[in-house]
Point group: C2
Chain length 235, copies 2
DNA sequence: CCCACTTTGTGCATCGGTTCACAAAGGGAC
DNA sequence: GTCCCTTTGTGAACCGATGCACAAAGTGGG
């Protein structure tokens, strides 16, 4: 018996591929809205901003969903990617920390794109507890464990000050959460098995600055070449 | 003549290393505040959440700044990394799009950590133009080119709706900007030589969902294994 | 001055990811 | 049915990044 499906599906999609699937999904949704029925790897690759060989290899990790000579069925591919990413179920998300950023996240519409639902907002500041934001009541951080349990929260977004993040992380992990999106500028330490993704504005800016500096250096003929430590520290 | 410095500094720090330098810098700043004079690669690596061999290799790309048997001088290393990242000069940043997110960014203190200064806020909505946010006047997007030129803006943060992002990107590029931090959920197309970094909440959540699903699948004995396309589309 | 100990810097093996380039597969015309 | 055209799926070469493991370099004690 020749197994036609799932030659490459014995559990294990490369991390780099997983990170691109949401991109493909977004491009596909745009195409579906514009009424396209099928799309070639070339066109989809352009829309997603990657090269077509990479796109095909990525999709091949999910299964063999294209038709040679034709391309991919847009709706079908949307379904397959959504399923693979786990977006056919809906995920209850709790946001901890309702400062400027937390508020922005709560109100961010596209964030509830598909599959995600903000189920709770929590904060430690009695000043904001009770406020109504994006149709939700802000609850006190003391309710954290209860809220997670009662509302089936499985993903927590940390938008707290840096100083509070580790402490909150410990509590949500203790409450059984294994997926955290961290906006606080700290390195969180969590037990194995807990996934953390980090978004850090400051780091992104610094990376840009590095490249920007290099670009302007090039124009002005390189850096001062022997820019030394201001004090008299000789190597 | 044996060149003692810059064996490995002939222009070209790996991208992966650049992305970690800000992490090291943050950890080092914390240590400097606590009064530490020197630090070993092992300790710094733990603080930054990486492994020590990687840390040493990263630092070796900047030069040979450690002392065997001792470690690294905290202040000196802070200076070297800052210089390499271009943080010894200050960068004027403009934020375009003053919705919830733009506001949060403008107010985000740690963002002006060192070297960055929000020099302008711009928006297309006459409703918000003129508002005072984080000590700055919100200006109309028509002023974009003027503001960039007059205030020496070299990094632009896009926090506009998805639909407006490409158009704004075209304008800032035309105005000479080559570094963009994009928060809008679109793939921007820009000429070669322009650096774009993208922050996308929705994508991060989807990646988390993927892993979360996999974890729960494992517990319940794998996915339904032959979960098919709902309609009668036979492969 | 010498020895024991610490810690850096790096050569090397390895791994994961990207890209090329092409055989295999399907569609459509005649 | 046959031929030609399009497009997928993938083997294989390549490239950058990671991690091990150790020699080289420095410190401090006696």
């Amino acid at each position: 018996m020749i197994r036609r499906l799932s030659q490459a599906r014995e559990r294990g999609i490369p991390e780099a591929t997983v990170a691109r699937l949401p991109l493909y999904l977004r491009a596909l949704n745009g195409m579906a809205e514009r009424g396209l029925a099928t799309v070639s790897s070339e066109d989809l690759a352009v829309a997603a901003g990657v090269n077509s060989a990479k796109l095909r290899k990525d999709l091949s990790h999910l299964g063999s969903y294209g038709t040679r000579g034709v391309g991919y069925d847009v709706e079908y591919l949307i379904y397959q990617i959504s399923r693979e990413l786990g977006l056919t179920q809906d995920w209850a998300v709790a946001i901890v920390g309702v400062g400027n950023l937390g508020r922005a996240l709560a109100n961010y519409g596209g964030f509830v794109s598909r599959g995600f639902r903000v189920a709770a907002l929590l904060d430690a500041d009695p000043e904001v507890v009770g406020d109504r934001i994006a149709g939700l009541n802000v609850e006190h951080i003391d309710e954290l464990e209860t809220v997670i349990r009662r509302r089936g929260v499985s993903i927590v977004v940390l938008a707290t000050p840096a100083a509070a993040a580790q402490q909150v992380a410990d509590r949500v992990v203790a409450a059984g959460i294994t997926s955290i999106l961290n906006f606080a500028p700290v390195v969180l330490s969590v037990p194995e098995g807990v996934d953390i993704r980090k978004v850090d504005l400051s780091i992104e800016l610094q990376i840009l600055a590095f490249h920007e500096q290099r670009k302007t250096d090039r124009m002005t003929g390189g850096p001062a070449m022997a820019e030394e430590w201001p004090e008299a520290v000789d190597l």
